[in-house]
Symmetry: C2
Subunit: 132 residues, 2 copies
DNA sequence: ATAATATATGAATATATATTCAGATGTCAA
DNA sequence: TTGACATCTGAATATATATTCATATATTAT
């Protein structure tokens, strides 16, 4: 996952004209269709960033709590048994992609879910894993 | 993301009894409910593994092609402009969590989507990013 | 058999990530 | 204003990951 920065891994260029090697096993016709279906590389990057954000157990645990109510950093940290610093860092990354919002009250900062959309993904995967 | 191995990062223990610090801002009542909502740590791991698998642009691009038809490694590599070795490695990780299946035919190995479930997630995120 | 092709694999490398630690900042209470 | 608290931040560290490269394996064609 990469966020808040541009990737440093060199992105592969899209193959120029003939998309498949000389040894290609699919007919050239199909090969051209393939390129149409192929996920655009920049969109792939953004989608990967999003999925990657959900690809961490501690972030998921944090989200599972914020799904129901807002919580301040300290309580969140206590509940998930992480250091406050670690939680703060994670909240920052969650904020960076607008999954969470915050509200300041005195010296506390209360975080809450901004994009409830993710709960559907969360549920879908949770159930999916239960099946298999 | 971690797959095919146990995580080496030490998993934080769940806080024993009083889940929140002495400075806790939420009432103890709520604190107990929190623990009920908190995603179980092992399930969190498995979900994170799954999401993490989708958290790579090249894997998404590979999946975007396999969504429609089976393809052999060489064609796949040509289409996404990656080395065959890199594609092979990625397919292995996709196989490890049973997102793809393969079928051998002569010296070719044709891969195809095993779990079409993921296409829904894929679509959901694709559309979600289009909105914002 | 031998060579050519298709794929897989392991080690090495480069990069990315999560956490910790020390300390900075901002807020409240005495 | 001093000290305690809540959160944030950046650098350092440990770990995880993707790719490449060299090589192994398996299949087909000559």
């Amino acid at each position: 996952m990469r966020f808040m920065e541009q990737p440093r891994h060199p992105l592969p260029e899209l193959a120029a004209d003939p998309i498949c090697a000389p040894t290609c096993t699919i007919p050239l016709q199909q090969a051209k269709q393939l390129q149409g279906r192929l996920l655009d590389i920049h969109k792939a990057q953004r989608m990967a960033e999003f999925f990657g954000l959900l690809g961490d157990a501690n972030r998921l645990r944090i989200l599972s709590l914020l799904a129901e109510q807002e919580l301040c950093v300290g309580d969140l940290a206590a509940a998930v048994a992480m250091s406050e610093s670690a939680v703060s860092h994670q909240l920052r990354t969650l904020k960076s992609i607008r999954l969470v919002q915050y509200r300041k009250q005195g010296r506390h900062v209360f975080y809450r879910l901004q994009d409830h959309h993710v709960l559907e993904l969360y549920q879908a995967v949770a159930e999916h894993l239960d099946e298999s």
